[in-house]
Amino acid sequence: MADIEWIPLTEEKPSAEEVIFRVENLSLFTPERFPLLKNLSFSIRRREILGLAGVAGSGQKELLEVLSGLRPCTSGKVWYHNRELTNLSPEEVREQGIAIIPDERQILGLILDFKLKENLILGQHHRSPYCRYFSLNHRRIGTNAQRLIEEFNIQPSNPELETAALSGGNQQRVILARELSQNPGLIIASEPTRGLDLAGRRFVHLLLYSQRNNGKAILLMSSQLEEVLELSDRIAVLKGGEIISILSAQEADIDRLGMLMITGRNL
């Protein structure tokens, strides 16, 4: 991992007009009318990382569930390019070319008893190079696995191995490889570096940043402030299911964010 060098973060600005992803007044209530998400509104532009900072349990999990289609929201709208995504099923959301990196990699992200090569096509298994009509093309699945294992330096590199045999960091690489290989327009990443060592964390950061520079829109949810501060172009602060402030990267620092996250007041 020593060959990962420090790549200076480029100064390319986010595209000014092109809003790729927009959430309008999104709310989610429990059946007992207890609010989990309150009137969330934000938008992400092309070539932009929007960081979502917040103490764990401020609604990140619920937001991920709503955006990925696992759970319908109570009110509000979600737009991707000019298509409305509100309360679509996970199949329909994934059909739009949205990559989602879940925080619970062993529960939501991977099927641990699947072979490595099988996990590397999960969600794309029904699409064209891997599947023709209904029969799987094992040769293409194998070459895809070889390519991604090399590109993302997944260890051990045997595509026939059960995914459960991999370390947490390598499992995370499997998810990243799979999600980013479909060339998505939007990446929703929740705690992408949880449980990784320093090298793994650096790897993920560089990856997300190069994706940003390639023109993707990225929603980064993380409870690690350093990560949010280092990567984001703008930072939204989530507290109690509400966005209480959206700061630009220049005006945000660790004290200010911490104060907002915990007390809800600006310094």
Partner: protein
């Protein structure tokens, strides 16, 4: 770095079933010894009764056919994380469907009549699987409850049909004989023992289920849903669609098994003809670890136990219930795999470690 040779992982899957069979036979031998019989005559008589002469061999193979189908029916369900306990009822529905079509006295040509009977058998069985599947997908009703209840509906419904509308004549408990154009035909005959072409269909279907599971996107989704339904749903696999589809195919497989029993063996539908093939299918699937090719072998094993039981009783004086004891023991040992792997092996390893620590 973890690099296991391929044959090791493959052999590892075979290890538990083989150990379970060995342990079950061992315990059975002890029980026979306690009964005061010679345990070694048990083994020889068992092999004679199951494979010893052609008519015994044909009987064994003939009993294998329905067990392959019910085993596949249960095993495919397990692959999708579903407990299809309803194979028995699905078998009955398939049987009655085939018996009804087979007895229709239009002058069907053979190449039309037989496939139609089998297809209707498959379809009725599939219907008996789709209903619990739909209830689970839409209403969240657990399939164990519904499939078990559907068994009783099917058994009593077919018994009613046999005694009522489809009755062959007073004082019989069967439907009208099916016409020879719907007979499956005999592959191997010896004396009164007959083996129908159903055995070839069973092998073909088992291999197709293998292909379905590992070489099609549907099989990929079925396995994904069975291993981690949350991740499957998150990645865009329609879980509910897969539940209905899988239970439908499960039901269809058992229904086809019933149709083949009727068209290949009985040539009529006897009320309550199955000696519990559907429930034995659970054991067949468990022992094979839900692998379609393994199911062929375990179906053969259970069929040989079933067909040898009378010989054991007559030739060796061993109560034929020993067969049920062996079956139960096999399941018990298979079920304790998790215990041995999860508790006993780690416990032993821990002990070794602490020993090493105190020594060091």
């Amino acid at each position: 770095m973890l690099r296991q040779p391929k044959f090791y992982t493959k052999a590892h899957g075979l290890l538990t079933p083989l150990l379970a069979i060995c342990f079950a036979l061992l315990v059975a031998i002890i029980i026979i010894g306690l009964l005061g019989k010679n345990p070694f005559t048990f083994l020889t008589v068992f092999f004679q009764g199951a494979f010893g002469n052609t008519s015994n061999l044909i009987n064994t193979l003939s009993k294998t056919i329905p067990l392959v189908f019910t085993g596949l029916s249960v095993g495919l369900g397990f692959r999708a994380g579903l407990f299809n306990i309803g194979s028995e009822g699905q078998l009955y529905m398939g049987g009655i469907g085939a018996a009804y079509i087979g007895a229709l006295s239009f002058s069907f040509p053979r190449f039309l009549h037989l496939p139609l009977a089998l297809i209707i058998g498959f379809a009725l069985g599939a219907l008996w699987g789709v209903i619990p599947g739909w209830l689970k997908a839409k209403k969240g009703v657990h399939e164990v409850i519904t499939t078990i209840m559907m068994n009783y509906v099917a058994i009593h419904f077919t018994t009613y049909l046999v005694n009522g509308p489809l009755n062959a004549g007073v004082f019989t408990r069967k439907t009208k004989d099916i016409l020879p154009t719907a007979w499956l035909g005999t592959l191997w005959r010896s004396g009164t023992a007959e083996l129908s072409y159903g055995i070839l269909i069973a092998l073909g279907v088992a291999l197709s289920i293998y292909w379905f599971l590992f070489y099609t996107k549907f099989g990929y989704e079925v396995r994904a849903v069975g291993l981690n339904p949350l991740a499957a749903r998150f990645a865009g696999v329609g879980v509910n669609k897969n539940i209905v589809l899988t239970l439908g195919i499960c039901g269809g497989l058992a229904g086809l098994g019933g149709a083949i029993e009727v068209t290949g063996l009985h040539h009529t539908f006897y009320a309550q003809f199955s000696p519990g093939y559907g429930y034995d299918g659970i054991a067949v699937a468990l022992l094979a670890k839900n692998h379609p090719v393994g199911i062929i072998l375990t179906a053969l094993l259970f069929a040989s136990l079933r067909s040898a039981d009378r010989w054991l009783q007559i030739r060796a004086g061993i109560p034929k219930d020993i067969v049920l004891i062996i079956q139960a023991l096999v399941i018990l040992f298979i079920a304790s795999e998790a215990l041995i792997r999860g508790r006993i092996i780690p416990h032993l390893l821990k002990k070794k470690k602490t020993l090493l620590k105190t020594e060091g």
